[in-house]
């Protein structure tokens, strides 16, 4: 019986080599971010940059604050009572955390796709078109709907029933519809909070492919607890882990952030290595 540990993750090679980080354009510059729910820290001391036109993956075990962190990036946590955050998040150099910053404008530029597909109880067409109309995009609605649905790899499946209720679609189709809805309003960044966690492998593959195809136009930040997924789609990967303090306190923190190849083949932190090789306790 062999006792060698097979590497559980193989990094695909179709990704183009990344230019050096100094030459990449920063979209987010996050400094010392703490996210706190009613006095209990969920994430502490995150400092990282997110680069333009790359897919950045956030991986880590359950409860490490991945979702909380990504929701800080477009002020989605504003809606949660008792939530506070400290530190700064600069978006294209502008602080977006202040109370004088309009959260609606932030979200207009930084869209979001959620863990569970949440289409509006409207028709397929209206799901994509409603946001555009409300946000003031009024010309060529039909062409834009078609483009967004095509980009989300859904057009061929729904082009004959655009009037049908979005709720009649399968889970994977609903999630791709949500992605179409998010990119139809032409945001700058698309945040994805475990977009494939409720999907089967084929739908997952479709979503990964669309990220790969669309990253020349958008910047993606994706939370995933699926390491293979991060290895497949991400250019940069951030590994979060859980830290324990006194009195049973626990919070998430950023352990390592680097090019995906590096994280999965030569991590510099022991915790990262344990996690990506499946030895995480």
């Amino acid at each position: 019986m062999s006792t060698t540990i097979e590497p559980t993750v193989r990094v695909e090679t179709r990704r183009q080599p990344m230019p050096p980080r100094e030459r990449l354009e920063q979209i987010f510059d996050i400094q010392d971010l703490d996210a706190i729910y009613s006095g209990k820290p969920a994430v502490k001391g995150v400092t990282m940059e997110v680069y333009k036109n790359l897919v950045t993956a956030i991986i880590g075990p359950s409860g490490c604050g991945k979702s909380t962190y990504i929701r800080c990036l477009n002020r989605m946590n504003d809606l949660i009572t008792g939530f506070t955050q400290t530190g700064t998040i600069r978006y294209h150099g502008q602080d977006i955390c202040g109370s004088d910053v309009d959260a609606v404008a932030v979200r207009r530029n930084i869209g979001m796709v959620f863990q569970r597909p949440n289409p509006f109880p409207k028709s397929i067409h209206d799901n994509v078109a409603w946001g555009m109309k409300v946000l003031g995009i009024r010309d060529d609605i039909n062409a834009r709907v078609e483009r967004a649905l095509t980009q989300a790899a859904l057009w061929d499946e729904v082009k004959d029933r655009l009037k049908a209720s979005a709720l009649s679609l399968s889970g994977g189709q609903q999630q791709r519809l949500c992605i179409a809805r998010a990119i139809a309003v032409e945001p700058d960044v698309v945040l994805m909070d475990e977009p494939a966690s409720a999907l089967d492998p084929i739908a997952t593959q479709a979503i990964e492919e669309l990220m790969h195809n669309l990253k020349s136009e958008y910047t993606f930040v994706i939370v995933t607890h699926n390491m293979q997924q991060a290895a497949r789609v991400a250019d940069m990967t951030a590994f979060f882990s859980i830290s324990h303090g006194g009195e049973g306190q626990r919070w998430g923190e950023l352990v390592e952030y680097d090019a995906t190849e590096k994280i999965f083949t030569a991590p510099s932190d022991k915790r990262t290595e344990d996690y990506v090789t499946g030895r995480f306790g």
Partner: protein, 297 residues
């Protein structure tokens, strides 16, 4: 030891017979209580129907009353039916927008501390006796100005407001947060999200609450005695004057010496009861339908 004996000894429990007896008694008590609750409604409906049905005819709805009539001229309670229609419609127009706005504020915008306080205030308002509301409106609008239909509407609206607001809050809470997040995540403002995404989900539920509130206040007598009861026998649609209403008419007719008046009071009571029964049933139907719609089934 036979298999049966083994089983018996394994399953033996201390005081089992007594437990079974207690269990059976409690179950029976609960069952009888439920039966009595149903029976009370049945008896009320039956007795009102038995006395009201003989006097129920078209004249009741289409003819005005003739006071101290010594002839057998056909007469009815048209003024009361029209009055109730006007008063309750106006009350609904007043209470509905306020109730919905209160619910939207509390459920969508208010911080938890304010929401808890105002919800409690609504529950207290819901528990305020109707006669107290009547005195309040009497002091506010009737003293120095005289009775009027719209003062009656205002009193009923005060009673409807907490009912509409609470039932709207309940359906708003049923709308999944993921829908709000979907809209906000697109960069849509909160008011727009509430108006275009959340509210359309709740229309059925709001309608249900409104119908129940209407059914509840249509039978209110106490506040109307104070603010809209000195009325003539002519039908009037003008809420600036005091308007007759069904409950007040029933109350007044019941004090009349004429047995024909009593019969008409019973008939009016029967109509009111039927309206409330069917409104409640319709509301239940609407509620299940809209709940199913929100849950996406």
């Amino acid at each position: 030891m036979s298999a049966q004996e083994v089983q018996r000894s394994v399953l033996r429990v201390e005081g089992l017979a007594r437990r079974k007896a207690v269990n059976r008694t409690m179950e029976l008590l609960a069952w009888v209580s439920a039966l009595i609750a149903v029976a009370i409604l049945g008896i009320v409906v039956y007795s009102v129907a038995r006395r009201g049905l003989p006097a129920l005819n078209l004249d009741l709805l289409t003819k005005d009353p003739i006071p101290f009539s010594l002839t057998n001229q056909p007469q009815g309670l048209r003024n009361a039916f029209v009055g109730t229609l006007v008063i309750v419609s106006l009350a609904t127009l007043m209470a509905l927008p306020f109730g919905i706005l209160v619910a939207i504020y509390l459920n969508e915008f208010a911080p938890a501390s304010i929401r808890n306080v105002v919800t409690m205030v609504l529950d207290i308002l819901n528990g305020v006796p109707a006669i107290v509301i009547g005195i309040f409106v009497f002091g506010l609008f009737v003293v120095g100005h005289g009775q009027s239909g719209w003062a009656g509407s205002f009193a009923l609206a005060c009673l409807m407001l907490p009912l509409v607001a609470r039932s709207t809050m309940e359906v708003l809470a049923l709308v999944p947060n993921s829908l709000r997040e979907a809209s906000l995540g697109l960069g849509v403002a909160r008011w727009r999200t509430t108006l275009s995404i959340v509210l359309p989900q709740t229309i059925g539920g709001i309608l249900t609450g409104t119908v129940l509130a209407v059914a509840r206040v249509a039978g209110e007598t106490a506040p109307l005695l104070f603010v809209s009861s000195f009325v003539g026998t002519k039908t009037s649609w003008n809420p600036l004057h005091a308007l007759q209403s069904i409950p007040v008419a029933i109350f007044e007719l019941s004090e009349s010496p004429d047995p024909a008046d009593h019969a008409r009071a019973w008939a009016a009571a029967f109509v009111l009861l039927m309206f409330i029964l069917f409104a409640s049933l319709g509301a239940r139907w609407l509620a299940t339908r809209s709940r199913r719609k929100i849950m996406g089934r």
